[in-house]
């Protein structure tokens, strides 16, 4: 049969193309445009090549912020993934407890970032916050405004509180999809609780864990709102992450060129790291 060509089909994908163009391609290209030019106002632009990129990569400010980002994501993943698995393992599999647990787990996910920031900012205040005041009354020195450790601790606790649920829900979905017969077979074999986890539950959760890991990495690497609301990047520069630095540079100092170059580098780092995680994790899957 003759293959029929119907070019009208292209019109069908046009809306998507337009949407993607406006939401992703055009903004991205604008950023690329800024990153290779310099301006002194008056809408006059001068070609600057890779100058901004080398400036950003040469600055200590950038590398320090990147270090903070990596440290933060590392801590977040190290806490949230094991904690999420642990909670998911202990959630009820059937009965009245299931909807209750699921709703409780979903609640933090429904709260917007800035609200979470505000909640914890007030919660942790030494003068009026329940947590801050209680700790102060107990004689424990805690002040996220001027103590670097306390500021980090607050950010980490906030993120764990906000996002562990996501890991829990993903793991739980992986766990309930395991047929009961697996547990029976393990019981007949006389396998220990650890063996059941190691050889049945963990391999069966592998795919959802990969997704949880990637989502939590990308999200925590893009952290902005919480430190912005809590301390605005302080005390000092101790919680100035890449995103905060970027906004300071772009909007605070209106250095559009360096900011554009930095955001592109930032974007490429996330892309690269996600790709590495994904490849490593799916490869180890294929080898097994």
């Amino acid at each position: 049969m003759e293959k029929t060509w119907n070019n009208k089909a292209w019109f069908m994908v046009l809306p998507v193309l337009v949407l993607v163009a406006f939401s992703a391609v055009i903004p991205l290209m604008t950023v690329v445009n800024y990153s290779v030019q310099d301006t002194f106002g008056n809408n006059e632009f001068f070609w600057n090549g890779v100058g901004w990129f080398s400036d950003v990569l040469d600055s200590d400010r950038f590398w320090e912020a990147l270090g903070r980002n990596l440290l933060f994501s590392g801590i977040i993943l190290a806490i949230e993934i094991p904690l999420g698995i642990l909670i998911a393992l202990n959630m009820p599999k059937k009965g009245f407890g299931v909807p209750v647990c699921l709703v409780l787990m979903s609640l933090p996910l429904l709260i917007p970032w800035n609200v979470v920031g505000t909640i914890w900012q007030v919660f942790g205040r030494v003068d009026i916050g329940l947590l801050g005041y209680t700790l102060a009354a107990l004689g424990i020195p805690y002040n996220y405004v001027n103590n670097v450790f306390d500021a980090w601790l607050t950010l980490i606790v906030m993120d764990v509180w906000h996002w562990t649920s996501l890991v829990v829900l993903l793991c739980y979905a992986g766990l309930v999809s395991i047929p009961d017969a697996y547990y029976q077979a393990a019981k007949i074999d006389g396998a220990s609780r650890w063996a059941v986890f190691r050889y049945i539950q963990l391999p069966k959760m592998k795919r959802v864990l990969l997704i949880a890991f990637l989502l939590r990495f990308m999200d925590s690497f893009m952290i902005y709102t919480e430190p912005f609301v809590i301390t605005g990047g302080g005390p000092g520069n101790s919680t100035t992450f890449l995103s905060i630095d970027l906004v300071k540079m772009a909007i605070g100092q209106f250095d559009l060129g360096p900011a554009a170059a930095m955001s592109l580098i930032y974007f490429l780092i996330i892309l690269l790291l996600s790709w590495i995680f994904y490849t490593v994790m799916t490869n180890s899957d294929a080898q097994n």
């Binding site: 077979a185 007949i188 074999d189 006389g190 097994n288």
Partner: protein
């Protein structure tokens, strides 16, 4: 010898198993035959020790094991789903029961290779179950059951998820595999055909009750009640409510069937008369076969056989006929009942007189 004594299982308001007594001999193959939800799996779980019976005792070789945990008994089980450790290789999967029981490495290696050879898995030992076909996955599960050398082997519809050809192949091998071990072998299935092919003993189950237990062919030929006869019939058993009056079975005063010789001795009165679909035919199979008028409902062609659904004397029957018979619906036909194989059941469902002997 596994002995179930007055076993019941009640979960909440549901009775899964009604009082059951069953004795299974060492080295025997026992089929649990019954439809879905008839209690096959519940009964197996009780035998294995995965569940504790609500009442009654279970003993093994005369020793009471009712409260003994499953891991402390010698039990192996294979399921309808293909259950293997997903991240382990086939080799490690087969070795897993022996590793837990602490066998030495040389023994493990020897046993794994033997079982793999038996189950034709040798080329796949280094693969994980995800990279195997369904048949190979189930062979792995079976190999795990074999190396365990358990005294009770429970197979819960192990072939149900396999394709036809593999099913036939494995079904043939299974009894041989376990025959040498001297263990008690329990095989659950929903298919009467499978029970007949496996042989051994069969217990027919229905709504949590064992209706009959004995040598498979005996249960098939001589069902003691109508539930057993229905459970053990595929396509479904044909039945009709008739009244015996002298030498005829009649319905509202109209003669339907002559009373065959083997039922001549039973008292006059109402009976449920039943026979298998292959005792109904389009041509007279035997001089004594009784002709009946019927109307075609639908004909289904299954390769070289036809399942012809008919409306006859107010009952819906199935006829299993060799060859292809594609008859239009609503066609009026004459069909023949081989009365030598009629079974008669009383109002309580028990088989009456010599009828049972003719059920085949």
């Amino acid at each position: 010898m596994l002995e179930l004594k007055d076993i019941t299982k009640v979960v909440g308001a549901d009775t899964h198993i009604h009082p059951t007594n069953l004795v299974l001999e060492r080295g025997s193959l026992n089929v649990l035959l019954g439809p879905t939800l008839s209690g096959k799996t519940s009964l197996m779980r009780l035998m294995a020790g995965l569940d504790k019976p609500t009442t009654g005792t279970i003993s093994f070789d005369g020793k009471d094991v009712t409260g003994v945990r499953v891991q402390d008994r010698s039990v192996a089980m294979v399921y309808q789903q293909f259950i293997n450790y997903p991240a382990m290789t086939v080799y490690e999967n087969i070795a897993s029961p022996m590793r837990i029981s602490g066998k030495d490495e040389a023994t493990i290696d020897r046993e794994v290779r033997k079982a793999a050879e038996l189950m034709k898995l040798t080329p796949y030992l280094e693969r994980t179950p995800l990279n195997l076909s369904g048949g190979q996955q189930q062979r792995t599960a079976l190999a795990r059951a074999i190396v365990k050398n358990a005294s009770l082997v429970l197979l819960d519809e192990p072939l149900a998820n396999l394709d036809y050809k593999l099913r036939e192949e494995l079904r043939e091998e299974l009894p041989k595999l376990f025959a040498a071990s001297g263990s008690i072998f329990v095989y659950a299935t929903t298919e009467p055909q499978e029970a007949l092919l496996l042989g051994g003993n069969t217990a027919t189950l229905n709504e949590g009750r064992i209706s009959q237990f004995g040598p498979t062919i005996g249960v098939y030929r001589k069902p003691t009640d109508i539930i057993t006869a229905k459970t053990f019939a595929d396509p479904p058993l044909n039945t009709i409510e008739l009244t015996k009056a002298g030498n005829v079975f009649e319905r509202q005063g109209i003669t339907v069937l002559p009373v065959p010789e083997h039922l001549a001795g039973i008292a006059d009165g109402p009976y449920t008369v039943a026979f298998h679909p292959h005792h109904l035919s389009l041509t007279r199979p035997h001089a004594t076969a009784a002709p009946l008028k019927a109307k075609i409902i639908i004909s289904e062609i299954a390769g070289s056989e036809s399942f012809i659904h008919v409306d006859c004397a107010g009952s819906r029957w199935v006829m299993l006929e060799h060859g292809i018979h594609d008859i239009e619906p609503d066609t009026a036909i004459e069909l023949f009942v081989d009365t030598r194989h009629l079974m008669a059941f009383g109002a309580d469902g028990r088989a009456i007189g010599g009828s049972a002997g003719r059920g085949a």
